[in-house]
């Protein structure tokens, strides 16, 4: 009887180990599937023009020429500068405005706040696609801003409802003690926000800055619509798309440009992994 039990336990234990091995196998297989495309892209970026169409995975002769060429022969460098110029001010300003708005809703009493908040949440339901065309017409004909970076930058400066909601939820978890003490000391609300609340919200702020940066860096449709055909205004996404749709595609340079275009977001992700994964667990990306 005892023997039987032991063998039963052994079977169970073997099953557990087998299950564990299987689950690791699945996890590793999927990870492999995801990484191979990137490895392939990276390997291709070191191939010469003669080798690019050969079937070997790794280049026989490694060359860094493509990277030099991408920066020297195309608008890539310029487009990097453009992209950062277009998105850093709106990201910082938008995050600040969203946090400010969340503070207003979370801590201040004023008539109409409930109604305003409900209206804002209702806007989340509107699909982007409906807004796209009239916005384009407005920017093109009323403001005459198409062909300038303004339509890409300006709307994001005012913040967004999703971000505001994220900050609102964060603020609800913060104790009010500091603020109340500050009020007793006669500090104004503006001062309280800048000197007390904003620093307390640091983790949430950093998360949103990162998310916002990545989203805007990767955005393709907005700059495509508004920046026109002037190469000097291109963002990174437009620059690589232009290389892709060129009449004679230089594959090795195109793929190298893709690697270069992926670098900033990947570096940010590796550096700030914790902030990002925590934030995304709450709000989601895109």
């Amino acid at each position: 009887m005892k023997l039987l039990n032991v063998s039963k336990m052994r079977v169970k234990r073997a099953g557990e180990i087998g299950g564990k091995a299987l689950s690791y196998f699945v996890l590793i297989a999927v990870a492999f599937l995801m990484l191979v495309p990137f490895a392939y892209l990276l390997a291709c970026s070191f191939k010469t023009a003669q080798e690019i169409n050969l079937s070997s995975f790794f280049p026989k002769q490694w060359t860094g020429r493509n990277y030099v060429a991408v920066f020297e022969e195309t608008v890539m460098l310029r487009s990097f500068l453009n992209t950062f110029l277009y998105i850093i001010p709106p990201v910082l300003c938008g995050v600040f405005m969203s946090a400010l708005c969340a503070y207003g809703f979370a801590r201040l009493r004023f008539p109409g706040s409930q109604v305003l908040f409900s209206c804002m949440m209702a806007t989340l339901v509107i699909p982007n696609i409906i807004i796209m065309i009239p916005s384009y017409v407005m920017f093109a004909n009323f403001y005459k801003w198409v062909g300038t970076p303004l339509p890409v930058m300006l709307p994001a400066m005012f913040g967004s409802t999703v971000m505001m909601f994220f900050f609102l939820n964060f603020l609800r978890t913060l104790p009010r003690d500091y603020e109340e003490a500050a009020i007793l000391d006669g500090m104004g609300r503006g001062g309280i926000f800048v000197t007390i609340i904003f620093p307390l919200m640091k983790p949430a702020i950093i998360t949103q800055i990162l998310l916002c940066f990545i989203n805007q860096y990767n955005d393709y449709l907005t700059p495509l619509l508004y920046l026109g055909n002037d190469e000097q205004l291109f963002t990174v996404q437009l620059a690589i798309n232009q290389m892709n749709s060129a009449y004679a595609v230089e594959t090795e340079k195109l793929l190298t440009a893709c690697v270069v275009a992926m670098v900033p977001t990947c570096v940010l992700f590796l550096l700030c992994q914790k902030y990002l994964t925590d934030g995304i667990s709450v709000t989601g990306l895109k």
């Binding site: 708005c101 207003g104 104004g188 609300r189």
Partner: protein, 309 residues
Amino acid sequence: MNTFGNNAVKPPKKKMSRQRRSDMIWGYICVAPLTIGLLLFLAAPLCFALYLSLTQYDLFNEPVFVGFDNFIRAFSANETQFWPSVGNAFVMSIGVLLSMACSLVLANLISGKRKGSNVFRMIYFLPTICSSVAVGIMWKRIYDYQYGFINNIVALFGGDKVNWLDAAHAVPSIIFLNVLFGMGTNILLYIATIKNVPASYYEAAELDGAGSLQKFFYITLPSVSPVSFYILTTGLIGSLQGFAIYQVMTNGSPSNTMMPMLIIYNYMGGNYGAFYGYASSLAILLGVIIAIVTALNFGISKKWVYYES
């Protein structure tokens, strides 16, 4: 939902306290920027969209009011592309379901692990932060008929090369890449939720002799159903408005990869000419379809989403 300061108690008529008054003013100052932004760049275009859809407009001449002609044209036999493209978008949305299922399985596997869970999370999330344009170009090369990575392997094993982006293969090819590269966020959301399921549930189930499959189906699955619902809803909304990947990879040929967004984009001074009024009416139709799908989602969710409490 009375979650923040409300005004149920009206201040006495005579005089508001100074603190109260300053709070009120600061309240308006705080919410003003976002409100103005939404009015200028959301509410105004929204109203304008309705007007625009009732006109004929090419951006240079004055808009001509044509009533419901644009909508009539959209539903007439002349519009041969739009409705099939909506169908294509729904077919592509199978990817959302597949991605949801795969992410749940992977998240479940990861959250059972002590070792390496962080590494897997990182790897699975990597594709999500890369731009659709770069990812599209990368996969276009991988699927390439002559020189692509997959056909290289096929040829290595002596098989016949397959045209992965032709009419017969493009849809599954793109769905595959959408699923594989679209799981990152879902996995993170699932892991976060699975972590919050009380361990006592699983312990109780184990005492009753439940195996890991049973635990998955009877505990994990219902516990994560609110997240599944979120992923499904946002995923469908995103998938029906898919643009960058499709433009970069196939740009609408073969025709079963033609997406509604590509058509609308082409009517905005693109390949189909400058028909902003018509484009706007198509956009509104697509918006209505998305709204219907979302509403259906909410309706059906009552049957399968379990909220605690």
